[in-house]
Amino acid sequence: MVPKCGGQVEQVEEVEQVEQVEEVEQVEEVQQVEEVEEVEDVEQGEQKLKMIKTEKILHLRSCRGRKLRVVREHYLRERVPCYSGACQAGCAHADGKLLPADLTHYVVPDVGVVLDYLEILELRELQGVVFTQTACQALQHSKGRRQYNRLRNLLKDPRHDCVLFANEFQEYSYCPREKGESQDTWQSRCVYSAAVWFYNHLAGLMDIVMITEDQEAVTRYSSLNSGVYVISVRDYLQNFWPELRAAHELHASVCQALQEKEGEVRERQYAEHLPPEVLEAGIKSGRYVQGTLNVSKHRAQTEASIMTEGFSNKSTDSWCVLVHGDKHRNRAVHGDVVAVELLPKSEWRGKVTALSEGQGAEPSGEDGERKPLPTGRVVGVLQRNWRDFVVTFPPRDGTQPQSRNSQRILAVPWDHRIPKIRISTQQADALQDHRVVVRIDSWESSSLYPNGHSVRVLGRSGELETEVQTILVENCIHAPPFSDAQLRELPVNSPENPWTVDPAQVAQRRDLRESHLVFSIDPQGCEDVDDTLSVRHLAGGTLLELGVHIADVTHFVSEGSLSDLEARSRATTYYLADRRYDMLPAVLSADLCSLLGGVDRYAMSVMWELDARTLAVSRVWYGRTVVRSSYQLHYELAQALLDGDEAAVPELVRLGSEEQEAKRAELVQALETLTHVSRHLRAQRDRGGALELEGLEVRAQLDEEKNITALVPRQPLEVHETVAECMIYANHWVARKIQETFPHQALLRHHPPPRQEFFLQLVDSARARGFTIDTRTNKALADSLDRAADPQDPLVNRLLRMMTTQAMSEALYCSTGAQSLDQFYHYGLALDRYTHFTSPIRRYADVVVHRLLAAAMATKRGVASGKALAGNKGLEETAQHINKKNRAAKRAQKLSTELFQCLYFKERDPQTDRRCVADAVIYSIRDDGVLAFVPEYGVKGPVHLKNREGLVVSVGPDGGCEWQSGSVRRQPDRISTTSGGGTCTFRLFDHVTEVVRLAEEAQERAARRPKLSREEREFSQSKTPNLYSLLEEVRELALTDPDMIPQVCASTA
């Protein structure tokens, strides 16, 4: 909003005044009722509504300390919908959910209960919760936006049985505040009066229970009305939900935490945070810097940094501010949005690049730290980012601080970037060595650690199930079994009651069952087949028709249905190493939507007519179809067929040999055409500058009892690329279509170009090997990466590509209305528009795109689609949500793979087992060690050349190696150790042989880290989550492989 040209001065003064008014605390509230006046409702002319105007007089204190008297109107009406299914009065419930009528009672929580026990009310098992407007406003007022939004989402979620009753706008349930009445009594009076109104409104059919923690309210109100019960939360849970153990435990834990909070006065440990107004003003004036706190993975205790997002007016690009030490971090937790004040230049420090983690015993700063960076201290937290944390209760070995009551435990978070959390609990002994989900309640400036309470016990640490649950909780992944209500709304397909295609649907769709040879290629054992392909010649061979047929999920999952909501909140199927959590229930994902071989299925198709010779597109057709997949191939089989191997196609085994030959030839012909087309498409994209990147992907092969038998790196086949290319092509064309039809509200996937400074490491590393990397455009990058291949060592190229992958920014979903046209570019694929269309069974974004495409088809035909599409704002929200969930899914998948890698090596004895000895490549040099990559297992890890006693590694002539005293010298591309036994130098990309050792190395390390408990020692491999620290245990030991010795000798100066 912009001030009017005239009267600017006046307006500004007034608005400032309002600012004070809205922000300040409410001192007193007195109300007076004016005479009853009919106010005509202009909206509904025929139905005259009577509204009563009253006035609220608020006394507000401005931030300058002045008191202001503000008069606000307050309109009351008789008809406020109750949102109850048992309503006798015929309230107008236009939309939104209703409370079921078949409950025994409704529960109305008091203000205090909503403030402190919202978590309990969030349990889905509690039904019939009526939140009052009084309570909601109090929550918004005292707990802030975040908590309030949580409540709002709860109210919107159709899976929870709770509604909001606007009691303060109801004529009879509204109580004006009396003179001298305290806020608390007034609020409970309001809530009680709302409860009484509800009871009377439902004509006494439903009992109302008001729960409160205020004993006074219980005594005052409990005997006033029959049918309206006033009891405490504990009594309520015990009487009405005796079997709901989770609620009882949560209640006990929250109670405990609240009790602890009271009467805790100690000396100040941290500086106080500044009030939000001061922060905001400081940020605007440039005195403070705003950013998200990111705690260092390597040195979580001391080092953290914040990335500013171009908030300061001087620089447009972001820069990094270091926050050193926990005093300067001032109670901020990883992920919080904080305001930082820069320290004077003399106190600036550099980032530590050494590998070792000893605090205090750092190499005295001279070569351990790089050039000083801007350093600051946190002066306030703008937005807490507290989520559920997984912690481990340490064993009680007397090292715990025994404060005045021994029930307070310092629990160690799984994510070591999070500080320890103080938990008060009665079950400390029972929970030893267990992993527990906790929430942080508060962190006072007088306390060294934050206070929290436990929510849920996951299990004993070290057990596979516990660890997998831990990964899920830490990534905020919530994937409970699908609810019955959701399953009820889905179609059935059982042997007694088989599902068949609907003739009415077939009439509307294009039937490809007879005309096209449709087949799918997927990984072996895949159940959710969402993409199939077809290719055939048209018009006597001059035209080629390529078709991509995608499962028509949106036919089964209509917008707004329970399945849709659940799928939206999951956003993707979560694949872990040993299991997966489906986005859609199995009846859809593995059966009705899945394009299985030999059955009729609905599909959404894109078909191109290509010129057979030049492969130029002459026509594109999008639409709904019916398909029957003839072959359900897997990659290895398809590749074998292409290579001309004698592989048996299961679909053809039963046929006679002649027929089998013919069919087989037909299939192979189709596969070959497909490969031909996709090579052409690939070449086309390569010319545009598409990148070929490399990630490390290792699959843990499991046997029946979920024991790991081997770690298998993925083997790329050409047919993988063929299928991927067709999918990319389909995605691209669909993106074009929806973007053109809906220029403001189409969901695209864009990949912003990477920031040049991220390439520094790549360029430096490549230079060490004599290659130059041009990173100016994606085309230049792709070409220079192709050139940077060492004929003797294919690994160099692979490593370089891996580093490129790390430098890339993340591809993200976005709404076209939220970005400008040139932002749609997909850097990695070199396409101007891209989206996800081909996997609707496992990605929600594809479901959205399917709906958009269907709507685009409808618009083209001139038929208005039934439901309005989400606007740009809604779509952007969806996109952000999916992005967040995708990130979480990716992290969870990585962590679970790492978990299995750890489990694999845990069982091996490094001294005896040959599998623990592997070839590794150095890819980065640090001050006192190197970072190495083991291609066989796809793991990376640091290799220490200097241990904590200051001994360095020296390599004997026999390839053995031992710790000796000496020094380490680091140069840009090499690191050398000098000791009594001579000097050895390690260069980038040198091959070393590593022994992957876990158990006793881990023990050794843990023993030196006094803060770690014994429990972690035994299982430190799964506790430490990230790549670096995960395999810190991987250490360079010896050059035992005889082939490698000459190479290393050559580099030994």
Partner: protein, 320 residues
């Protein structure tokens, strides 16, 4: 003289006059002021000469008014103007007006007077005239009456008492807006070479000052017996969460809403004045104007009732 029909400004006309940004994503209107008067007094091509040179003031406003913008942002975060259930801060629904109460003929000495409350905004309007031109004779128009408007706010009209010097920019602008509105509505051609004075004072301010002034002044003009084409009814409309909110109160006005003020001659549906100083997407404008027109018609019903009741009282007094 143009007929009323020719002066009528309908939504398509307005839309034509609105500049659209090239990408169609954001339409910036710093000040859009259209009136029958401006339409009449200038050539069709540059019809809307009164539309301020928005771009240059915009930059200045931004630079100087940072605290202003910030406070808006903060309020947007702090207050929920429209709840999920569809209630506003004071318990009204989106399209509901505040309570309107009015009395005509409050002062005997003036030719016409009226007192009007719209919620907690209270205004007093007094009309003198038509009489011969006071002061410089050169201001007189040979074919119609001159309308002279003066807007002022009482020192006690806001939460904190404040001296309000006469003739500050805000009240000068408001006076000008009132003048334009009433030049469009009053049949000035009946009184050539004369002058009509309209004085409006805000006694208590709680949002929608302009519209309350227009509504009060309408009653005062009627009380003075000056012929008008129709009632002029005004109302403000704000835009929150894709919903137009009718008749904003002060808390809503200052809560960072893009608001639009509209004065309407309800019977013919002609717009006498349309003013908006905020950003709004072009697509929403039509819905907003539509809502404002509905709200104005609601106001006109109340005013009509007041006038009829007043007439009854007066006629019973005079014994007719």
């Amino acid at each position: 003289m143009n007929s009323v029909a020719a002066l009528c400004l309908n939504i398509p006309d307005i839309k034509r006059c609105i500049q659209t940004e090239e990408d169609r994503t954001v339409t910036v209107r710093t000040l859009l002021l259209l009136s029958l008067w401006s339409c009449r007094s200038s050539s069709p091509g540059g019809a809307f000469g009164y539309v301020h040179s928005a771009a240059d003031t915009w930059g200045v406003a931004l630079a100087v008014r940072l605290p202003f913008i910030r406070s808006l942002r903060k309020n947007m975060a702090g207050l929920e103007l429209l709840s999920d259930q569809g209630y506003r801060l004071d318990g009204r629904k989106a399209a509901e007006l505040r309570k309107v109460q009015a009395r005509m003929g409050v002062f005997a000495q003036a030719d016409g007077s009226a007192y009007l409350e719209q919620g907690n905004t209270k205004a007093l309007a007094v009309v003198y005239g038509p009489h011969e031109i006071r002061g410089s004779r050169s201001r007189a128009l040979h074919d119609r009456a001159v309308i002279n408007c003066q807007y002022s706010m009482a020192t006690f009209s806001t939460a904190e008492r404040k001296r309000r010097p006469h003739g500050d920019r805000k009240s000068t602008e408001m006076s000008l807006h009132l003048k334009q509105t009433f030049e469009a509505a009053v049949m000035t051609q009946l009184y050539p070479r004369s002058q009509i004075d309209i004085y409006v004072k805000i006694l208590q301010s709680d949002g929608g000052n302009y519209s309350v002034c227009v509504n009060a002044a309408t009653l005062a003009v009627i009380d003075a017996g000056i012929p008008m084409r129709d009632y002029v009814c005004a109302c403000t409309v704000g835009f929150v969460d894709e919903t137009p909110l009718a008749d904003l109160c002060y808390a809503e006005e200052s809560g960072g809403v893009s608001s639009l003020a509209l004065a309407l001659l309800p019977r013919g549906g002609q717009i006498a004045l349309l003013q908006m100083d905020a950003r709004l997407h072009q697509d929403h404008l039509e819905a907003l104007i539509e809502a404002a027109m509905t709200a104005c018609k609601g106001v006109s019903k109340v005013l009509d009732e007041v006038v009829r009741q007043h007439l009854q009282e007066v006629s019973s007094l005079t014994g007719e």
